[in-house]
């Protein structure tokens, strides 16, 4: 092995250790609930708590709604900007980056001011309204990821020519999006969806300030008054997040192959 490779591996190992050691330490700590021996008691305790299932179920539901709304907003927007208004693209890039720049705290205070119970659209006046507001907030929060995933997906296919090919055969704009564009960027949409899901599952600030029974506030609540369960929960949410990432990787293999042979 030459010197360069050795250094490369060394730097990789250092970087990996920076992530893996705390994770292993957390995992090790989560197994120490029973005195003197390792056990999964902390995990059993977490799963036995009805609030775990309730908050997790709630976040999954909100996550799914966020994905649906996100796809409905982002896919047509990216499609039409790429096809008809390419000059709008830099503006789109800027808008979709804003949620990364504006703190969630600022966002949620803005929402509360705009949609409080004495405003024109009093979304926070009811549980359903607040859920809708929360979904909207998550769509915004996940926008940078969903937009980039969909945009990358559309970059790999020649949407202009495919659209024209479908159009000349009589297809309407709606038929083209549903039958041609969506199936060809499905993998990209799913990767955006899993990223969205991962964000929603762990989100604390917005759910907490809107006072919704989501998984993020539950995690923080447990962390403040228990010892071992937070570690177990951290590992569980880590597995969920990485499971979502793994799914993205797995689905990438099923992406439609678009590069034609030229022989």
């Amino acid at each position: 092995m030459n010197n360069n490779r050795l250094w490369a591996w060394l730097i990789f190992a250092l970087g990996a250790a920076y992530f893996i050691v705390p994770l292993l330490a957390t995992f090790e700590f989560s197994l120490r609930m029973r005195r003197g021996e390792y056990s999964f008691d902390a995990y059993a305790s977490v799963f036995a708590d009805p609030r775990f299932a309730a908050s997790f179920g709630y976040s999954v539901l909100i996550g799914l709604c966020t994905i649906v709304v996100g796809v409905l907003v982002v896919v047509p927007a990216v499609y039409f900007v790429r096809l008809r208004m390419p000059w709008l693209k830099p503006f789109m890039e800027f808008i979709t980056l804003l949620p990364l720049v504006i703190p969630a705290l600022v966002l949620v205070y803005g929402y509360i001011r705009l949609y409080n119970s004495s405003s024109l659209i009093p979304l926070t006046g009811s549980a359903l309204g607040t859920d809708i507001l929360l979904t909207g907030a998550y769509v915004t929060l996940a926008l940078p990821y969903m937009y980039r995933a969909v945009d990358n997906g559309m970059r790999t296919i020649d949407i202009g020519t495919l659209t024209e090919a479908a159009q000349i055969m009589g297809a309407s704009q709606w038929q083209i999006i549903v039958q041609i564009i969506l199936p060809n960027i499905l993998v990209a949409i799913l990767s955006g969806a899993f990223l969205t899901f991962a964000i929603v599952i762990g989100e604390f600030t917005i759910a907490s300030l809107l006072n919704r029974p989501a998984f993020g506030p539950y995690l923080v609540g447990i962390g403040t008054n228990r010892a071992y369960e937070p570690a177990a929960l951290a590992i569980i949410s880590f597995i969920i997040t990485w499971g979502a990432m793994g799914m993205i990787n797995l689905l990438g293999r099923f992406a439609p192959r678009t590069s034609p042979r030229t022989d």
């Binding site: 024209e164 159009q167 000349i168 009589g170 192959r257 022989d263």
Partner: protein, 353 residues
């Protein structure tokens, strides 16, 4: 020509301050194979895209089979189109690609299946209906694209440089296949190409375009044998340009690098230097019956092309190319050898413009 089927009237397209198509008009009959031929940027693809409905004309009209389609959307025009980049739907099988237009038109599944099988047979890809586009070669993909375009029985077929992404051999075989299918179905076809050989070999008529305007419209032999302008002459086929000096316009005589020649096509008011043109194939090595001009020169270059040998002959200041058949019993001429070539004065064209 059959009755008028496609009429393009005063078609104009402007992008910003640039006019890419300048008041183009032409008309063709049903079943004709028309080529729009020209260099990049001449407006040929823009005309095709306006016929397809992908671009809105700035002025002018397009009439197909008596119906003004100028303002119709592409999906209302009942046209078929094959694109340069195949544009097969990657998520659909070959069969589903071919059946796409039929499905959109609401044809029942059973009839669709029959039509797809017919189309696959027509393009020689029976048994391929379950394959995906990425599993096919470029030539096969383009044949599927052709089948997909003609499956819904469109009124007209538009081909946007469908062969340019393919390699040379497949290009020739596929263009012959396209022509055979077109003749078989009798479908009016507009073919856009920048390849003059392609246009000459498969078209009924060719529209030669340059800088947004039509330079010449005619049958392939007319375009080749009687080019209407210097541009057409140089763009379509090989051409020799010969600088000559008029010696007596009334007697129609000139000198080519000091050698006398009579040019029947010389205008009566010509004087001083003129440019004469002629095709390589009208030049002969040595004397030939009917050739009244003989020129002496030196062989400057010999290119062996298999059945044909291309010679470049220096006449002094002028250089001409000519093709001679490869005779297996004789040795090809060598560079530097003196040579006599002959031609008929009536084949010399005096190009204006």
């Amino acid at each position: 020509m059959a009755s008028e089927f496609l009429r393009v009237q005063n078609l104009t397209k402007t992008f910003g301050t640039t006019t890419v198509v300048k008041g183009v008009s032409f008309a063709f009959g049903k079943g004709e194979f028309i080529s729009l031929l020209g260099p990049s940027g001449c407006g040929k693809t823009t005309i095709l895209r306006m016929i397809a409905g992908f671009e809105n004309p700035s002025a002018g009209s397009i009439v197909v089979d008596g119906q003004d389609i100028t303002s119709l959307k592409p999906n209302q025009r009942q046209l078929g189109m094959v694109f340069q980049a195949y544009a097969l739907f990657p998520n659909l099988t070959v069969g589903d690609n071919i059946g796409f237009g039929l499905k959109i038109a609401g044809l029942p599944a059973e009839q669709r299946r029959v039509r797809i099988a017919d189309m696959l047979k027509l393009i020689g890809l029976s048994g391929y209906e379950k394959r995906y586009p990425y599993e096919l070669s470029g030539g096969q993909q383009q044949r599927v694209a052709l089948a997909r375009a003609i499956a819904p029985s469109p009124r007209m077929l538009l081909l946007d440089e469908p062969l340019s992404a393919l390699d040379a051999k497949i290009r020739v075989s596929l263009r012959e296949e396209i022509r055979a299918i077109q003749l078989d179905l009798g479908i009016t076809t507009v073919f856009v190409t920048h390849d003059q050989e392609e246009a000459l070999s498969i078209s009924d008529r060719i529209v030669v375009m340059n800088a947004g305007s039509i330079e010449q419209l005619g049958a392939p032999h007319e375009i080749y044998n009687k080019p209407a302008s210097r541009f057409v002459a140089s763009f379509v086929g090989q051409l020799n340009n010969i600088d000559a000096i008029v010696t007596d316009a009334a007697a129609k005589t000139v000198t080519i690098d000091g050698q006398a020649a009579r040019v029947p096509a010389l205008p009566a008011d010509a004087k001083g230097p003129v440019t004469l043109t002629l095709r390589p194939e009208v030049l002969a090595v040595g004397a030939r019956d009917g050739n009244d001009i003989t020129l002496a020169g030196t062989i400057a270059d010999v290119t062996f092309l298999g059945s044909v040998i291309r010679l470049r002959v220096s006449l002094g200041r002028n250089m001409v190319s000519l093709d001679t058949f490869n005779d297996q019993r004789t040795v090809p001429p060598a560079r530097g050898e003196p040579i006599t070539i002959s031609l008929a004065g009536k084949d010399l064209l005096v190009l204006q413009g």
